[in-house]
Symmetry: C2
Subunit: 178 residues, 2 copies
């Protein structure tokens, strides 16, 4: 999610898409078998940029040079809003879609990693797992979700993981073989 | 490790340091409480570049603007070779240093994640965990190590994680609270 997210002062912004987030999260998603990787931004120039990057790797020279990268970046779809993504999944999945947001802070009644891993084995629901860029998802967006996933705890008080690392750790915890 | 690593054709090269690897791996390392993050490259211009980046965030304006980032980047030390790093740790730790290499391929008698997690609780040894950039550590380097860690398996056959993601997943598996 690049909108709505918070900046350092807690204000709602649209963050810039970074090339490396696209590559890293697509490769991590492909490793753990996610169905799709939606990049959400309402900004037209950002959407054009993402489409250009995808096209280079999926249809263009990048994919010829590096077929593994093509396979990963083919997971990416660019959409305007979380609502649009959820509606699209709902329309094709024919099962209820549960929106699960991630958040670095502790929340009441958060969904545990083991519980989520268990629920994912049941095909009666589709799950849309939401990660914020910049300083995280807005409070309104978190409150509107069906479920909030428990935060990652390392073994220190330091709590400033890049979104790329959070995606890697969370997908490994809920979908990894270990 | 930026040298010795392999390129796409299996030849030994020195890879370029990327700014984002420094930031991401430092933040992940800080989250999981590692003692130090050594960046290994024998190339003088690369060493100067890394020192410049560290200095901006640790002593300069970057750290004033973002103290969390300063705390993470203060973990970084730049050295010429793995031997130099191991000798340095040996000299200060006063315990044997076990060099544990990571590798995307299956190896005989690989150290399992659970077993490594268990061993880390014993202060009788220090562990130096080694990650390769580019197309991975050279075979010679892997063979010279004390231990080879088992590879990360997602739940697909896709096996092309960025080094940043591999660091995140492995530190979470061996040091995470879950």
């Amino acid at each position: 999610m690049h909108h709505p997210v918070k900046n350092k002062n807690g204000e709602t912004i649209a963050s810039a898409v970074t090339n490396l987030d696209l590559h890293d999260i697509a490769r991590i998603g492909k490793t753990y078998g996610v169905a799709a990787f939606y990049v959400v931004t309402p900004l037209e120039d950002q959407k054009i940029l993402v489409e250009k990057i995808i096209s280079h790797w999926v249809d263009g020279w990048g994919g010829v040079h590096n077929p593994d990268r093509r396979e990963a970046l083919a997971l990416i779809k660019v959409r305007d809003s979380l609502t649009q993504v959820a509606d699209e999944i709902r329309a094709t999945a024919n099962v209820p879609v549960q929106v699960v947001v991630t958040c670095a802070a502790e929340k009441d009644q958060a969904l545990g990693f083991d519980e989520f891993k268990y629920r994912l084995k049941d095909p009666a629901n589709a799950y849309l797992l939401v990660f914020g860029t910049a300083w995280g998802l807005t409070d309104d967006l978190i409150e509107s979700a069906d479920l909030v996933l428990e935060p990652i705890k390392g073994n220190t008080g330091y709590n400033h993981l890049p979104v790329r690392a959070a995606v890697a750790i969370i997908l490994d915890r809920i979908l990894g073989a270990a």
